[in-house]
Amino acid sequence: MSKRTVELDLATPGLDARGQPVRVPLGVGDAPDATPPEPDLTGEHMLINLGPQHPATHGVLRLVVELDGETVVRVIPHLGYLHSGFEKLGEYRHYNQIIPLTDRTDYLSPMANNVGFALAAEKLMGIEITPRCTVLRVMACEMSRIISHMVWLGTTSIDLGAFTPFLWAFQERERIYNLQEMWTGARLTTSVTRVGGMMADIPDDFVAGLREFTQTFPRTLSEIDRVLTRNGVWVGRTQGVGALTAAEAINHSLSGPMLRASGVPYDVRRDQPYLDYETYDFDVVVGEHGDVYDRYLVRLEECSQSNRILQQALVRLPDGPVNVADPRVILPPKSRAMNDMEAMIYHFKQVMEGVKAPVGEAYVGIENPKGELGNYLVSDGSAKPVRWRIRPPSFINLSALSKMAEGHLLSDLIAINASVDIVMGEVDR
């Protein structure tokens, strides 16, 4: 085989006289006589686009990042990629028809959303729920808190490189899913509440299943704790990253674990109690530095506290009816609706016209796993609300992202984004 030397005639030279790579700007082919500008390789910032399809943005979030080398100078989040028109849709639905919509906003903790909306609708209509319903709703909220924090833990571990806690956390979620399915028939889109009560009473095996869960769940938590909390890689990637002071957190209207990790001891369950939370014995978990590590510790400890509340709720669950005895609000049992004329008329009016709320408005904020979830309902006397506003904790927590991430590295941005615990269904609604 003979050797051949091939002369290549490049259209543009790769290197200039000083050996620096030549940057050829777009469009230079249009004006070939123009000299390209001198490349300035120092002090040039890069524009990087993360998302909206990206494994580490926790949903369809788009982050436009200005980078100086590896350091984030500015990050501009773009939302709206999951905007589904919930609030508009709510104006065309009866109050009980909105409950399935609430499942799909924060789909990681559906039962808590259901409870939040039902509380707002009941405040608007002036309905007082039964004691049994109150305890069942507390159980629903705390189960939702555990599954939401388990998703957070699993996905944050994956983002920071630890794959195994994801599998452990999701296995715990499966056990709660079994309980949710036992109660409501659905794993994820539970729609467990109705205005004035619940969709159904708990089945017979539910209490035993939940008790078994509360007894074995602390073991998984301690395993995760052992793997992560004093792990050099974990601590190195999360301590001192994305810190916010208490005053900044309050000014940015943060809520939930984001606010408490910065040292503000505000928990809606303790400070504006609902569902008799003041009678339960639990600690409000408050952090100190407001960085990603503190948020991790706050959420991990909140899972133990939720477990504690569940155990207390199981003990104090009273007997009695689950729904209020008002036939204008709660559908009568099927056997009565088929046989009794009055019950049939109540059934007809509720299904065809919906339950009418009096003129007025109500706001109820509950402690969602992500923060303070508020439902603001305005009524003009008809069966469909004039305005249904969801006060979205993830949306407001996310607005502090650019403040938290400035000056950190790109990999820290991933950790900070994970620590905000967003669910795009709620951010975009």
Binding site: G27, N49, R62, I76, G85, K123, H252, A362, Y376, S399
Partner: protein, 205 residues
């Protein structure tokens, strides 16, 4: 009724409209001109101390006679007190109100969303653009009552406009200035970006 209402009336007089209570929540109407002063007073006065902004939104009623209200939900963390402030605006007229972003940074995105969904302009907002819909969304303001549920255009037209989006045009001018990338773009792409993805110039030109 929250005692703040009387204190507000004592300080601001006629600028404070009616105060009422609904389902246990206190609501007070404030005139548009006095809003920023009243909010500053509410936040900074030690006895009031409403340091936490819970929510900013707007409500438009089905009754055509009623005015559009911009609703602010405030909270004093220390006193555990809530207050709802409302500003009434004419839905057919000028929907402008002062921005409270200088007081609470959390209002930033909340006001952008209210602008996006209702068309309420917030004077003094650092960056008032659409947040949930795309920036050159041509169908209007979705949560207004005259906006139909399924949108104004036909489904095929909505799909066509959605697919016609030039993904590069999703960068705002501010972002393109970061990498000095705007200057390097070819002329026809610059023109497309000026027009936005939907072929309509943004109103703030």
């Amino acid at each position: 009724m929250n005692p703040t209402v009387d204190a507000l009336r004592a300080t601001f007089g006629n600028a404070i409209g009616r105060g009422l209570e609904s389902c246990g929540d206190t609501i007070v109407y404030v005139a548009r001109e006095a809003l920023l002063d009243a909010m500053t007073w509410l936040r900074d006065t030690p006895e009031q101390g409403y340091d936490y902004l819970v929510d900013v939104t707007a409500v438009e009623y089905r009754d055509r006679e009623r005015l559009l209200e911009v609703v602010y939900q405030l909270r004093s963390l220390a006193r555990r007190a809530d207050l709802r402030i409302k500003v009434e605006l004419d839905p057919h007229g000028d929907l402008t109100v002062d921005s409270v972003v200088p007081l609470w940074r959390g209002a930033d995105w909340l006001e952008r969303e209210t602008y996006d969904m209702f068309g309420v302009t917030f004077r003094g907002h650092p960056d008032l653009r659409r947040i949930l819909m795309w920036e050159t969304y041509a169908e209007g303001y979705p949560l207004r009552k005259d906006f139909p549920l399924r949108g104004r255009f036909s489904r095929a037209e909505q799909v066509r406009q959605a697919l016609g989006a030039n993904p590069e045009a999703h960068y705002s001018m501010e972002e393109l200035s970061i990498a000095e990338a705007y200057d390097e773009l070819p002329a026809d792409m610059k023109e497309r970006l000026r027009h936005g993805e939907r072929g309509k110039l943004p109103d703030t030109e």
